[in-house]
Symmetry: C2
Subunit: 340 residues, 2 copies
DNA sequence: CTGTTAGCGCGTTCAC
DNA sequence: GTGAACGCGCTAACAG
């Protein structure tokens, strides 16, 4: 019944060697002064017994646990969170690392506790993620524990991974412009708070800045800008409903996220207007709904998985330079923009 | 620079005691034959130095790591996955445990590797989760490693946590019936494969069985049943479009998941029909879209977080009986059912 | 060349 | 209250 775990000593015994010899062989130390024969015996014994080193015991000596901590303010709610995690998992698995997950809800106390809990388990490094990208105070970690900020920035000289929102913003405008839209383009979701950068996220400010820059470069201007605080379907619906009460209809809607675009679809449909025949729509995020909508919503995707993967790659790399690492936002073309 | 971690020996030295004494005091062993004074000194020293025990070292002696493995076939895609994880995290945090996450993509090889990786790190137990609940072969673990199946069943005598789909199915029918619907109720999403239980999931069969049982108990029958293989908006749209081409319109739609219901909304809207005035709709899952829709979709929720938490609680409890533990599916009443 | 012994890392536990 | 051994694997020093 007591299926005791196979230890290095078991392997060594079976191979007729000391455990130190077995250790050196299994770890392939460069100075292999051990005989080929001995090496074969050890490897065979290990295989036969199904030996797996006890990571806890090993980590006591070497300062590595092959474990990465992933601290996030939120894990559920959006696909964004789970995408980041999925990407991180994939990259970790590649490197034979495993991920220790912790959620903080954004609460500094839980944050501190989470970090402590992870350090207690000797994680090699920590990915510190936020769902609405923002400026954070990077936690202080022991020298041997690396840190990568994910979807967050910090003024201290740290490493962070962010979506390339500026280029994303430009891409959205380009889609519209390249399709021939030059007038009647309405921006949905702008607010003073974004401009002042006290909005929900720092990257969203860049998203907006990107659209403005591209518009300007092309000599275009927004017909109007609908200020919306909460980027949810209901708010998008209301805003577009109001828009449609005006004498002249918009020709294209640039929505700052998908839920807003969804609200726009609803308002348009209820007014008997059609996407994209009457109004073109582009948006950001590539949420699940973007593919559910009829016609499919063309949107600039948040590259969650790529970001998550990038973060652990940087963590494990070690030689990577500090600063911001931008991940490209893919353009997902569906059917919500009409060629004019 | 070298901020060496504070060890038990440091604490003992500062308190002027042996590390064994410090260990006993900090762990509050029952046989406290240590002086009150000594105890105070140790606690103070620990606090002053900010001592945290090294979990790896401890786990070498006691057979506990305060770490739980969570293996899932998918972590991204649906809110379901992240909900399970979130719930598990919350319960783990309560018990001062931490979660080691692994994803397998349903691939048996990766599954085996994930289990090995977790066992290498001496997890106290493993939660084995699947996103589309199904029969799995429970992995064999060492005696000291507990296992709980999450959203999965196994014929071996194991512990599993599942949504109470049978009651959920009944609840959906009850909502319709209690609102006065007796005729023209159409079931969307049935298929032969569900009945034969070779469909995507075992619990979904129970969902359907629950609706049938409740219909029968109330002396009702479905007007018709639309067989749909893939439960996505596009398929729901097509099915309902066809339905609306018939001479007599349905009065209520019982959709077996939310994306189908979304497709139904789209088809109805495009035909100029209104929910719930013309057609009532109930559904299952409480996906994000359920709250996005206009009017809000009444749906029987998948209790992800509750399930995840339950799984961890059972794992840590140890005295919990084997078998299926059903978690109630909350009824989320919005505005898609009309009182007739 | 081929290998072994001893001791470490950190906290727990038992005999004294 | 303490010293010493132990859990498991790694590594520096040492020996045929």
């Amino acid at each position: 019944m007591t299926t005791r775990r196979v230890t290095l000593a078991d392997v060594a015994r079976r191979a007729g060697l000391s455990s130190s010899a077995a250790s050196m062989i299994l770890n392939g130390r460069p100075d292999t002064r051990l005989s080929k024969d001995a090496s074969d015996r050890v490897h065979r014994a290990a295989a036969e017994l199904g030996y797996r080193p006890n990571v806890a015991a090993r980590s006591l000596r070497v300062d590595k646990t092959q474990t990465i901590g992933f601290i996030s303010d939120t894990v559920a709610s959006t696909r964004f969170a789970s995408g980041l995690i999925k990407g991180a998992l994939a990259a970790a698995e590649q490197a034979e690392h495993v991920i220790l997950l912790a959620e903080t809800g954004g609460d500094p106390t839980r944050e501190t506790e989470a970090i402590a809990a992870l350090l207690d388990r000797q994680v090699d490094g920590i990915v510190f993620a936020t769902m609405r990208s923002r400026e954070v105070v990077a936690p202080v970690l022991p020298d041997n524990t690396r840190l990568v900020l994910l979807n967050a920035t910090s003024d201290s000289h740290s490493t962070s991974v962010l979506p390339d929102e500026e280029r994303g913003g430009r891409a959205a405008v380009s889609l519209l412009a390249d399709a021939g839209h030059r007038e009647g383009i309405v921006l949905l979701g702008h607010s003073q708070e974004i401009e002042r950068d006290v909005f929900r996220s720092t990257t969203v400010a860049r998203r907006l800045a990107g659209t403005r820059a591209e518009m300007q470069d092309r000599g275009l201007t927004f017909e109007r800008e609908e200020s919306i605080w909460e980027w949810a379907p209901q708010q998008g619906f209301t805003a577009v409903e109001a828009l449609l009460a005006e004498p002249v209809l918009p020709r294209a809607l640039l929505c700052l996220n998908d839920p807003l675009a969804f609200g726009a679809y609803q308002a348009l449909t209820e007014r008997g207007l059609r996407v994209p025949d009457d109004v073109s729509i582009v948006s950001f995020d590539n949420d699940e709904i973007a593919s559910y909508l009829r016609p499919g919503l063309t949107t600039i995707a948040l590259p969650h998985e790529g970001m998550g993967a990038r973060a652990v790659e940087l963590l494990l790399d070690g030689t990577a330079p500090h600063g911001e690492h931008l991940v490209e936002m893919p353009v997902i073309v569906r059917a919500s923009i009409r060629q004019v």
